[in-house]
Symmetry: C2
């Protein structure tokens, strides 16, 4: 069974040394509660919970899966008890507002804890994971009465939330949804329709489930402008419509079936049938998609963290195996003469795989925690301009966090399997589960293709590149400040070149797209991956700066800082060159993609 | 459930038009039987068998898996009947020598049929698949008596074969094996030990199973020079040691357990216990590894074909879905106004994924059938120099076929999942099974890392680059011949540059490796992938030549040839640029890989 230790030392490096989280928290309202000691204690406790409570349930949950019987979903053994401990520990409301029962700590702290949960048990993590988004949507768009009914329950964690968007015939294109909402005579609505792929849509962890559902009103305009958001509880709170309190009458919501899927078996992925279910409008009529985006942006960062968490888990176990497994002698000469063969970590290609995992996981952690500060600032910075800047950068980085960390998370978990050789394919070792669990992250909350269109089309080109400039300017400023720093030369020079090229590539695609909008889609995924590599290069260069300063200052812990520098070297020499291919493919444009008709694609086998 | 049509039109293009298989077969001994009509009929019949018999069992086999009860393995429902049909149809002995009951057709023909089997049911294909290698090892290294006992049974298919190499503590490093062979007083040996990961090690498809087993004699030298090869039947042929005939007494061979694994659930992956089992030496004492390589080289090409077959299957189903699924309007304007949304094949990024699958599958097919001619020629060319040249090229291309087609096969099957969006993750659609089944191909018969060392270390550098030059010279000759062909300019120029760079990169690594042998391992996987992309570029350039000649000659079927050219364009513009990253990473060398000690890898989480 895989093992896992929360990467507390690396988190401390990222939060305390690289990104000055202590200073960041001190500047936030309520930041006095987020002292370094408190943060360290919470992270340590979170790591303990992940390792001791969640990890032992992960493999068993994969094997057992969820079972639907008589309309009720039974989660794998131990999931319910672990959830109760999670609620008892006060984890659900850590970053929620005190007025709704939360502890008022900064949202970014949740991101660090999320990583640990995803590393130790992704399927379990999806139950509480979606509640954050549901709570956020209600907090931003719900009426006071709705907040009173639902929010504190979600914050406490005694109820969980879902996002009900997808239907059998539409996922990306929500304008096509068929679920209907008809006003009833009690000031509410009756919701009818079928939603699919509803994660945590039905389960036995909590007494109630709060569904946030997209549906169309009878007079709705066509397409995505005619979608409204409703809150639809599994059990109606006692005095309808929304006075809150104990769980009341069962609503017309039921789980029709569970999906059999490649991974995250411990999570119930439900078909949810709404049969004239009682629902309440959240936010204005026909503005449901905008409200839903509140949930979705948070959920997208959450999915990126899933990619990160799985990379880290796979890395730790691959590393342990590579130190232990004896196979062949090093090409450069025997290293462990007393043993029948050398541990495979002596082999350069095994090291390449491990360092790929390590550089991506540590780089991903920096990216997530960098983004976490933007999450905090976009909501709480005292200065409006600072809030706006954070909001802009957050919009730019959200699709990168989501898609880059999940694409690379899938690669990294596969490297973990590869380090194990044939044993990686065997369920017992747990390495293949990381791959199967990781596979969904490239798909849900918007596929990589959708994230890439969001980044290049909506965020970058629609702003005439201004959004991108906010970030490239920050990188440029860093590079200029380090221009004379010999210790950073090997990082700053390539970073500076790529940063300039990023703008050039953007301009090149933008020019083509003026004549042909398909050029955006043709370049988008390569553009997103390119962007991800540059963003990580920026953070790795900063990490190298922090590490070399720590070494120069004689802060102690030298091995840690030297390892940081070596990993930065690996990233720049052995991963960053992938940008060369992406840049060339972006420049090649879309002509070769659009040449064939739909029929002509299949002429090799249709005869 | 996925559908599948054998790509007969494309095979005809590759075999008849691109590689002049009719001429090739005419030049082989017995080639008169392999007339174009006969070949076409066999391929068509093979395609029918794959689609009608094997395909319907694939998904069910995955869900059912194999069951071990009372020492007997029950394969999924229908597997046994399908195997009986396979034997009745004479498929096992298609390319075997008539003296052992075979039909004497060229070995390359089996490769084309293998692709179809792998596309339709990889797990099933592993039962007969390993018999070829076992038969080959006996044919090359077995005594006449052994051939009489076992070979015709394997050729007929009434028995199947296995390769018993791996043990719990060693896979790559076979010098470490512990299985022992002790001479008995009947002229045979008693084999004792445990082998793992034995594909088709036990099953209910045939009355007997012939294990080819690596073991050590009592006086064996240390390491891989002390390994001998034994044939160990599940049931002993009637009159021992080896007179052949009906199945006799049960041997001391048993299946200890079945592995639970990520994919190929329909294939029994066995722990096989040898308990003083009667065995017979194959080939000379202590030369077992060399004998085993006869099986392994064939098996490696076979695994490459598995990658190809899965790409093709995934491509066909992704294409069908992309034509059918309606989602969003094309960015460049509505394409299917009568429908609520456009089919997703209008979107450039969906096309990018489909074309990636298509260009890799069609390219892979060219590479396999190009290699197939070398297989034929290495054994049967009348001219010794031609045999030697074929042997050399085959040695160079075998690790590329194995590792490149499986690495890219995994990518391509994942693109297939991605085209389906969230539905790709759901078992019902069958797309995720292709991914799980493909995952093993990067591991077994030598991981990608091992293939890469074989290519760069053993084949290329150990020959001082001479082996590589045989191939790059052929490419160079092609490029020179086409220098004035304007129709091919866009292909020949980049191909020519890459072909030269291939030699330069080889030289650069070779120079470094003279001082530090770890530089070979540090460059190897990037070198193998680079090599694969260039090999495919060569074949895609030739395909473009063939297609443009066909168009110029007005041969008809214009849409097919135009699609071929468009796919070549896509390959050169949107896949081949990946060489830029690999080249840069090869040049970067191994310094950044070797900097950390084994302990320093884990300092981020070990505190």
């Amino acid at each position: 069974m895989p093992d896992y230790q929360a990467p507390l030392r690396d988190l401390r490096f990222v939060m305390d040394e690289l990104l000055d989280y202590p200073g960041h928290y001190a500047g936030l309202p309520g930041g006095e509660d987020a002292s370094p000691d408190v943060i360290a204690a919470i992270l340590e406790e979170g790591g303990r919970f992940a390792r001791e409570v969640l990890l032992p349930l992960n493999q068993r949950g994969d094997q057992e899966g969820c079972v639907l019987e008589g309309g009720e979903v039974k989660t794998p053994q131990g999931f319910k008890e672990a959830y109760a401990q999670y609620v008892d520990g006060g984890w659900p409301g850590l970053a929620a507002e005190p007025e709704f029962g939360g502890q008022g700590l900064p949202a970014s702290l949740n991101l660090a804890l999320s990583e640990m949960i995803c590393s130790s048990n992704l399927a379990w993590g999806m139950y509480p994971g979606l509640s954050h988004g549901a709570a956020d949507a209600l907090r931003h768009h719900g009426s006071d009465a709705q907040k009173a009914s639902y929010l504190s329950k979600l914050v406490e964690g005694v109820w969980t939330g879902t996002m009900c968007l997808t239907e059998p015939h539409c996922g990306t294109d929500l304008g096509l949804i068929k679920t209907r909402a008809v006003p009833d005579d009690e000031g509410g609505y009756r919701i009818t329709g079928t939603k699919i792929f509803i994660s945590a849509g039905e389960h036995d962890l909590t007494e109630n489930i709060v569904h946030l559902v997209l549906a169309k009103l009878p007079d709705a305009p066509e397409g995505s402008r005619g979608i409204s958001l409703f809150v639809v509880p599994k059990y109606l709170p006692e005095s309808l419509p929304d006075a809150g309190g104990r769980v009341g009458e069962r609503n017309g919501v039921s789980c029709g079936s569970l999906e059999h899927k490649m991974g995250i078996h411990g999570n119930a992925t439900c078909v949810i049938n709404f049969d004239a279910a009682k629902g309440y409008l959240v936010g204005p009529e026909h503005k449901g998609l905008a409200c839903m985006f509140t949930m979705m942006n948070e959920a997208r960062i959450g999915v990126g963290i899933q990619g990160l968490g799985l990379m880290e888990a796979s890395f730790q176990n691959a590393l342990a195996y590579a130190r232990d497994r004896l196979q062949m002698r090093a090409l450069s000469g025997t290293k462990a003469a007393a043993k029948p063969a050398d541990p495979i970590i002596v082999h350069p290609d095994v090291r390449r795989m491990l360092l790929t995992q390590k550089a991506l996981a540590e780089g991903g952690r920096m990216l997530v925690m960098y983004t976490g500060q933007l999450v905090d600032l976009a909501e709480h910075a005292s200065d409006a301009a600072e809030r706006e800047r954070a909001e802009t950068l957050l919009g730019l980085l959200t699709p990168i966090v989501k898609a880059f960390l999940t694409e690379l998370g899938f690669e990294a978990t596969n490297e973990g399997v590869q380090v194990f050789g044939g044993h990686g394919f065997i369920a017992e070792w747990g390495m293949e589960q990381f791959v199967r669990d990781a596979r969904i992250t490239r798909l849900y909350e918007g596929t990589t293709g959708i994230q890439a269109l969001d980044l290049l089309g909506r965020k970058v080109l629609m702003s005439q590149g201004e959004t991108l400039k906010v970030f490239t300017k920050e990188i440029h400023t860093f590079c200029q400040a380090q221009a004379d720093n010999d210790a950073l030369k090997g990082y700053v020079e390539p970073l500076s070149r790529l940063n300039a090229e990023w703008g050039e590539l953007t301009m090149a695609v933008g020019m083509k797209a003026m004549h042909d909008r398909d050029e955006v889609g043709a370049a988008s995924v390569d553009y997103l991956l390119y962007s991800g590599y540059v963003a990580l290069a920026y953070l790795w260069a900063r990490a190298a700066d922090t590490a070399s300063q720590a070494l120069a200052a004689g802060k102690g812990d030298e091995a840690f800082y030297r390892a940081k520098l070596a990993t930065a070297d690996f990233y720049f020499q052995r991963l960053l060159p992938r940008t060369r291919g992406h840049a060339e493919m972006i420049r090649a444009g879309g002509v070769s993609l659009m040449a064939l008709s739909a029929d002509e694609f299949g002429l090799g086998f249709e005869i």
